[in-house]
């Protein structure tokens, strides 16, 4: 069907014009477009409301004047600068820890069969099903006993040893040819140099894929940060935004839209700039 139409356009020209097929294709394009507009409509609305005066939030007039006033009002109404900093620190900390911990663990699983390796790997995979947010009641208790409630570390800690990351990197490391490893060993590479000079560089696309999924996940994560934080100094953007919108009780859609765009802005812009890498990364991360 689709592959045929792409592969052999010449053939299609020679055949008499098949009106039904042509109409079908036009219908498909139309359906795709309707669906696409439907899908971005919340974002389009946010763009409209955020860049126009409040008076135009619910009336759509192409002649409406543009303004940045809503962004200024939102910025002044809540400590967004602090929230940005918190989220940035959080996401960086989690990513760095995940890269180190998952690399070490994945290396052990990929390269060696040792006593208990199958059982341990199964125990790691449990986290794919039972994610930390499901166990929030008990994890909150643990954090309280560790004296970590309301710290950035407490938001990140349950996610640092990521089963998903270990799984992905193990797959990538398994693809490294044994000959390369043998050659490196002959040259006198120890285990550490083998890991940092051979395995890690060869798995670079997997690191990119995992990094992008991890950053988007933790930039957007809400429930666990909501539970474990209670001051401006630790709250990430998502929690800050929810408090901001709850206080305003949906009175001023323009300012809420501006705040919404602001807090998803960096990730959204990164996504628009590197959309191919993003989609390929999510795809790569999903195929096990």
């Amino acid at each position: 069907m689709t592959a045929r139409s792409v592969a052999q356009p010449a053939n299609a020209h020679r055949r008499p014009v098949d009106r039904a097929a042509l109409a079908g294709r036009a219908l498909e394009a139309f359906a795709a477009w309707i669906l696409a507009v439907l899908w971005v409509s919340p974002l389009l609305y946010a763009l409209w409301a955020a860049f126009h005066p409040t008076a135009y939030a619910v009336t759509f007039d192409l002649a409406a004047p543009l303004t940045l006033e809503n962004f200024r009002a939102a910025w002044d109404a809540a400590p967004f600068a602090r929230y940005f900093l918190n989220t940035f620190v959080l996401v960086t900390m989690i990513l760095a820890a995940q890269f180190v911990l998952c690399t070490l663990a994945a290396f052990a699983f990929a390269r060696t069969r040792f006593l208990g390796s199958d059982l341990l790997f199964a125990l790691v995979l449990v986290q794919l099903m039972v994610m930390p947010d499901i166990l929030m009641v008990e994890n909150y208790r643990t954090m309280r006993e560790l004296g970590l409630v309301d710290t950035t570390l407490a938001i990140g800690l349950p996610y640092m040893a990521s089963a998903f990351g270990i799984f992905l990197l193990r797959q990538a490391f398994k693809q490294v040819p044994r000959e390369l490893e043998e050659a490196a060993t002959v040259e006198g590479c120890g285990t550490w140099r083998l890991l940092t000079r051979v395995y890690v560089p060869l798995a670079r696309p997997t690191y990119l894929a995992y990094g992008l999924t991890s950053v988007s996940y933790h930039w957007n994560n809400f429930l666990w940060p909501l539970v474990i934080t209670n001051t401006v100094e630790t709250r990430p953007l998502t929690v800050g935004l929810s408090i901001f919108a709850a206080v305003d009780q949906g009175i001023d859609w323009s300012i809420i839209s501006a705040a919404t765009l602001m807090s998803s802005g960096p990730l959204l812009i990164a996504f628009l700039l590197f959309q191919r890498q993003f989609m390929q990364s999510f795809m790569r991360a999903g195929i096990r």
Partner: protein, 296 residues
């Protein structure tokens, strides 16, 4: 230092490499899962009163609690609606943007955008869409069908449906890319063969495309079901489980009982129910994978 046998050395190095990750996993996944079960048989410690063993009391109270049953039923409805609808839409989207239509790059982008937007941010936007009277959805329904204002998220009849719609909107584009990857991996020769046989487009889809998407569908299914249990951010900010618990799911109820009422014993019993459901899901997935390997 005595020289170790190579096998012993390998095992030691492996354990050393694994230990940081394993410690954290044990601390925040394995231990809390077991502790939750333990805690569910004890009372909630309050002030100077420590927790005492109460046997099945928490479970008896849970079974007698109508909100528990409402949340369980809602979780079932939520998953049963979100999973198949988002998967079907994902497949439709993938087929549409895999075809040679004009502007398919933009369409693909549009479908995928909800994946990178925070659920909390989009909840605010959807709140506006669902506003009775001047919200975009009411304006559309009044223009198209002449309906009056509907309080979509304030009415127990429609609130859960509204939450499901948002979840589908969020998920479909994410699942689309897996279908897209699978579609692009199908060898074109198969379609050539189908064409030579004179198969119609529908037959080709049903007999060639669909069976080859089986493993991808299983993968998406498992992820969709897990998300069906835990995609609750928008519910917590938009309805807080209301009105009248119409959008109360198991996880939102755990949050409410655990962190609004601070009744950790009951929250633990509720969490055990969720853990059992996830365990069953793991078993089903395992069985499905087993069967697939037997076929090969």
């Amino acid at each position: 230092m005595p020289r170790l046998r190579p096998a012993t050395r390998t095992t030691l190095v492996a354990w050393l490499l694994l230990s940081p990750a394993l410690v954290l996993l044990a601390l925040f996944t394995h231990y809390p899962a077991i502790a939750t079960v333990w805690r569910s048989f004890h009372s909630t410690p309050r002030g100077a009163r420590p927790a005492v063993f109460v046997g099945l009391e928490n479970y008896e109270a849970m079974v007698a609690d109508p909100i528990f049953w409402t949340s369980l039923a809602n979780t079932g409805i939520y998953a049963a609606a979100t999973v198949p609808l988002s998967m079907a839409l994902a497949l439709a989207m993938a087929l549409l943007v895999n075809a040679a239509i004009p502007g398919r790059g933009l369409a693909r982008l549009a479908f995928f955008t909800p994946t990178v937007l925070p659920m909390i941010a989009v909840a605010n936007l959807w709140l506006f869409f669902f506003t009775p009277g001047y919200g975009l959805i009411d304006r559309a329904t009044s223009a198209l069908f002449g309906w009056g204002p509907t309080n979509w998220i304030g009415d127990p009849q429609t609130a859960l449906g509204a939450m499901i719609a948002i979840a589908i909107w969020k998920e479909a584009g994410f699942f689309m890319i897996f279908y897209l990857a699978a579609l692009q991996a199908i060898p074109p020769t198969l379609y050539d063969a189908a064409r030579v046989e004179g198969a119609s487009r529908w037959t080709t889809f049903r007999r060639v495309t669909l069976p080859l998407l089986g493993p991808t569908s299983l993968f998406i299914l498992v992820n969709a079901v897990i998300n069906g249990f835990r995609l609750v951010d928008h519910i917590i900010v938009m309805t807080r489980g209301g009105p009248d618990n119409a959008t109360q799911l198991l996880l939102t109820y755990i949050y409410e009982v655990g962190f609004r009422f601070w009744d950790t014993a009951t929250a633990s019993a509720l969490t055990v129910v969720l853990l059992v459901m996830l365990g069953l899901l793991a078993l089903i997935q395992f069985a499905a994978l087993e069967r697939r390997t037997h076929y090969r």
